[in-house]
Amino acid sequence: MHIAEGYLPPEQAAAWFVVSAPFVVHGSRALVRQVRADPDSKLLLGAAGAFTFALSALKIPSVTGSSSHPTGTGLGAVLFRPPVMSVLGGIVLLFQALLLAHGGLSTLGANVFSMAIVGPWVAYGSYTMVRRVGGGLDPAVFAAATLGSLATYSVTVAQLALAFPDPMSGIVGALAKFGGIFAVTQIPLAISEGLLTVLVVRLLGRTSGDDLRRLGLLRPAAEVRA
C-alpha cells in the first residue's frame, strides 16, 4: 500500500525522510562494504533488486474480487537480510514511483519506512523467532511474509492517522478509521502473501536448493545429515 504522491502534508513528508535516513545510510554502508569485499556481489544484489520489483508484477486474487500485488518484503528480508533490504527496497520504491507512478517522491521517506524498513525487520524477526523455538521452515516463512505485510500496512495506517487525526477522537479515532477502510483488502492480502511465499520457498527448495543454501535459508547438506 503506497502513500500517493503529495498526499502527506510537507512537514510530515520531510519528517519521514529524517526517520528513514539512518536505516538507509546504515544499509548503504553495509552494501558498500559487501561490494568492496566481493565486487561480484553487486550483480547478485542487482538481481535481488530486480526480483523484488518483479514480485510486484504478480497479481494475487483478493477476496473483494479485485487483485493486488505482494509487498515482497517478507521473502526479500528472509533471503537478503533487512539492512540490504532497506537499500534494495528504497531502490525498488523509487523505481515504482518513477516507472509506474505508484507512491511518489515526496512520500518516498514514508513509504521506505513502512515497506523497506519496518516490514523487512518485522519479517526477519518473526522468521528468526519461529526458527529459534524449533518451528519448521514453512511456519517461519509464513510468519515472516504475513507479519511483514501486516506491519507494513499498520505503519502506513499510523502514518495516515498521524497526518490526519480525527477532530473528535484524535489519533486513536483516525487509526480506527484508516485501519478499518484498508483492513478489508490488506488483512486477506497479508494472509495470501504468507501462503504464496511458503509455496515459493517450497518450490525454490526443489529447484534452486544450492542458491537457498548459499543465501542461508536452507542448511548445508552435510549439516542436515549430521
Binding site: 498526499y7 538481481a47 508484477a57 511518489g104 484498508f182 518450490l203
Partner: protein
C-alpha cells in the same frame, strides 16, 4: 517496457538534459506540496498538465498511470469526511470536506508533476548521474543493474502468466496459488541465472569492480532554465502573496 518509460524514450524532450527536466517538474512538485494548497496546487498542477501536452505525452498514458494513485487518494480521502465521536460510531463531518478537498487537490497536482518528470525523463538518463548527488557509486551501480534486469524479469512474469493461463492455471484458488508460486520461482531462478551470466561475461572482459557506462552528453539549455525559473518564481509569488516592491 512500461508505458511511462516508452513515452520518456520516444518523446520530443528525450534529448533535453535530465537536470533541466528535474528542475522544471520537481520544482513544480515542491511548489504543489510545500506552498499553500490554494492556489499553488492549481497553478503547479495546471502548469504540469499543459507541459505534458507540450511534451506530447499521450493522454492515455497519463490517465492509465494515474489510475492506481488516484484510487488510493479516493479511498483514503473517505475517512477525512467522517469523524468518530465515540468508539464504533461514525458521523459525517462537514468540517472534513475542506481538508479532504485540499489533500486530494495537493495530491493530484503533485502526481501530475511527477508524471511530467517520469513521462519525459528516461531512468537510464538519471541513474548514471545520481552519484553527483552524493549517493555512493556502489548503490547507484546496483540500482542501474536492477533497472537493466527488471524489464526482462517483468517480461518473464507476463510470459509465464500467459502460458499458465493457456493451461487453465487460474481455474481455481488452488491452481491460481500454484501458478503464482511458479511465476515467482521462475523469476528468482532467472534473476540468479542472469546475474551469473553477467558475472561470467564481465570476468572474461577483465572486470575489476567498476561498471562504467557511456552517458549521452546533453547540453543544458539556458533559455529553458531561465523560463523554468521564471515560472517557478511566478508560482511562488502568486501562492504566497509576496508582491515585488518594483
Amino acid at each position: 517496457m512500461f508505458a511511462l518509460d516508452i513515452a520518456a524514450h520516444t518523446g520530443p524532450w528525450r534529448t533535453r538534459h535530465p537536470a533541466e527536466k528535474a528542475l522544471l517538474a520537481l520544482g513544480l512538485l515542491v511548489c504543489a506540496v510545500a506552498l499553500p494548497t490554494w492556489p499553488s496546487a492549481l497553478l503547479s498542477g495546471g502548469a504540469a498538465a499543459v507541459l505534458l501536452a507540450a511534451a506530447r505525452v499521450p493522454p492515455v498514458v497519463v490517465l492509465r498511470a494515474a489510475r492506481v494513485p488516484l484510487l488510493f487518494v479516493a479511498t483514503s480521502t473517505v475517512p477525512l469526511l467522517v469523524s468518530m465521536p465515540a468508539p464504533a460510531r461514525l458521523a459525517i463531518d462537514p468540517a472534513g470536506l475542506p481538508v479532504a478537498v485540499q489533500t486530494a487537490g495537493r495530491s493530484v497536482a503533485a502526481l501530475t508533476c511527477l508524471l511530467l518528470f517520469t513521462a519525459t525523463t528516461p531512468l537510464s538518463d538519471v541513474l548514471p548521474r545520481l552519484h553527483r548527488l552524493g549517493i555512493p557509486p556502489a548503490v547507484t551501480e546496483v540500482a542501474a543493474l536492477t533497472y537493466r534486469m527488471l524489464f526482462l524479469l517483468v517480461q518473464s512474469v507476463r510470459a509465464v502468466r500467459q502460458a499458465q493461463a493457456g493451461r487453465l492455471g487460474f481455474r481455481t484458488w488452488r491452481t491460481t496459488y500454484r501458478s503464482l508460486a511458479g511465476q515467482a520461482g521462475a523469476v528468482f531462478v532467472r534473476a540468479l541465472h542472469r546475474a551469473r551470466r553477467l558475472e561470467e561475461g564481465l570476468a572474461v572482459r577483465g572486470y575489476t569492480g567498476s561498471l562504467a557506462v557511456q552517458v549521452a552528453a546533453h547540453r543544458v539549455s539556458v533559455p529553458f532554465v531561465a523560463a523554468t525559473t521564471a515560472l517557478l518564481g511566478a508560482i511562488v509569488i502568486a501562492s504566497t502573496g509576496v508582491v515585488s516592491p518594483w
